[in-house]
């Protein structure tokens, strides 16, 4: 229905506008509706990292696009916040400075939400309260090993 979509759009837009500068350490972003008829409008992402003057996201870098998408995905999550959230290698294209801000956001989110996240990134590993190691010492068969951070850095490097 028209009102329902408008409400959803406004909430997600508001969340996106808040989360983007937190993840980028600045800059601004918002969502736009394209088209006259609300029930048929497309949604376009407008995002501007700190110091830059682009408008659409096409020209942004791989890491900038990924972090923009993460801001939007977290805003969509907050629409209907579940008690836990599973994240699979969301930090893969990010450089260390961006991973630091991203992991700070994970810490903040984890006050209300249980976060289970898969990562290859050492910085993301360091904020974990629990690290679950998965290995395949027997080829093709997964098993678990308990790990602390130093061991994990060791194991990922084999």
């Amino acid at each position: 229905t028209r009102t329902r979509f408008r409400e959803t759009f406004d909430k997600v837009n508001s969340g996106f506008q808040t989360l983007f500068p937190r993840l980028f350490g600045g800059g601004q972003a918002h969502l736009e509706l394209i088209g006259e008829e609300l029930l048929e409008s497309g949604v376009r992402v407008m995002a501007r990292p700190p110091g830059k003057r682009n408008s659409t996201i096409h020209l942004l870098s791989g890491g900038e696009k990924a972090l923009t998408a993460v801001s939007l995905l977290f805003a969509l999550f907050e629409l209907n916040p579940a008690p836990f959230c599973l994240l699979d290698e969301v930090d893969a294209p990010l450089d260390d400075a961006n991973v630091v801000r991203y992991s700070q956001m994970l810490r903040a989110l984890s006050e209300k939400t249980q976060l289970i996240y898969i990562t290859h990134n050492k910085i993301s590993m360091e904020i974990a309260e629990l690290l679950v190691g998965v290995t395949m010492s027997e080829p093709g068969v997964s098993r678990l090993v308990a790990v602390d951070v130093e061991e994990a850095l060791e194991m990922v490097a084999q």
Partner: protein, 168 residues
């Protein structure tokens, strides 16, 4: 409603029964390429009622059953169980009073799936009903799979709109 344990047996590369203890609020899963981390995510989607093989990286639903390695034969069925701590009463309906809630799915190669709620057989609908209003479900934004980010970046305005409509 907190997740306490994830149990897998015969599911993809987790042929041997395994219990993943999920304690605390910030749990990192680590390991080399191909060791089974994303398979755990697939297991959670599957036990919540995922019915499309494509969303589990398979061609058919039987692809989630351990299909063998160089040293092991294939097995006949897969089972995944999620155990929740519901002491905060997050779940509505007839299960609101339980301190612990378990959902389980078991499937054989014939494509049939059996669902269990607190060890009692139930329909898939009972599982999905349990999650109504909790924000959980196989297609909710509580599961960001390995290509979630690319799907958003590459979507056209009409596709992005449909993500909003799903989330609403």
């Amino acid at each position: 409603m907190r997740l306490k344990k994830i149990k897998l047996s015969g599911f993809k590369s987790f042929v041997d029964p395994i219990t993943i203890p999920v304690s605390g609020n910030l749990i990192g899963i680590v390991g080399p390429n191909g060791c089974g981390k994303s398979n755990i995510i697939d297991a959670v989607r599957w036990v919540m009622g995922e019915s499309s093989a494509k969303h589990l990286r398979g061609d058919s639903m039987a692809d989630v059953i351990f299909s063998g390695s160089t040293a092991r034969k294939p097995v006949g069925k897969a089972s995944v169980e999620l155990i929740f701590d519901n002491s905060d009463g997050g779940v509505s309906g007839q299960y609101a009073a339980y301190a612990e809630i378990s959902i389980r799915r078991e499937a054989g190669r014939d494509g049939q799936s059996d669902y269990f709620l607190n060890r009692t057989r139930c329909r898939r609908k009972d599982i999905t009903d349990l999650f109504l209003g909790t924000g959980l479900g196989p297609h909710s934004y509580s599961i960001l799979e390995q290509n979630a980010v690319t799907r958003i970046i590459e979507s056209k305005p009409e596709e992005l709109r449909s993500f909003f409509e799903e989330a609403a």
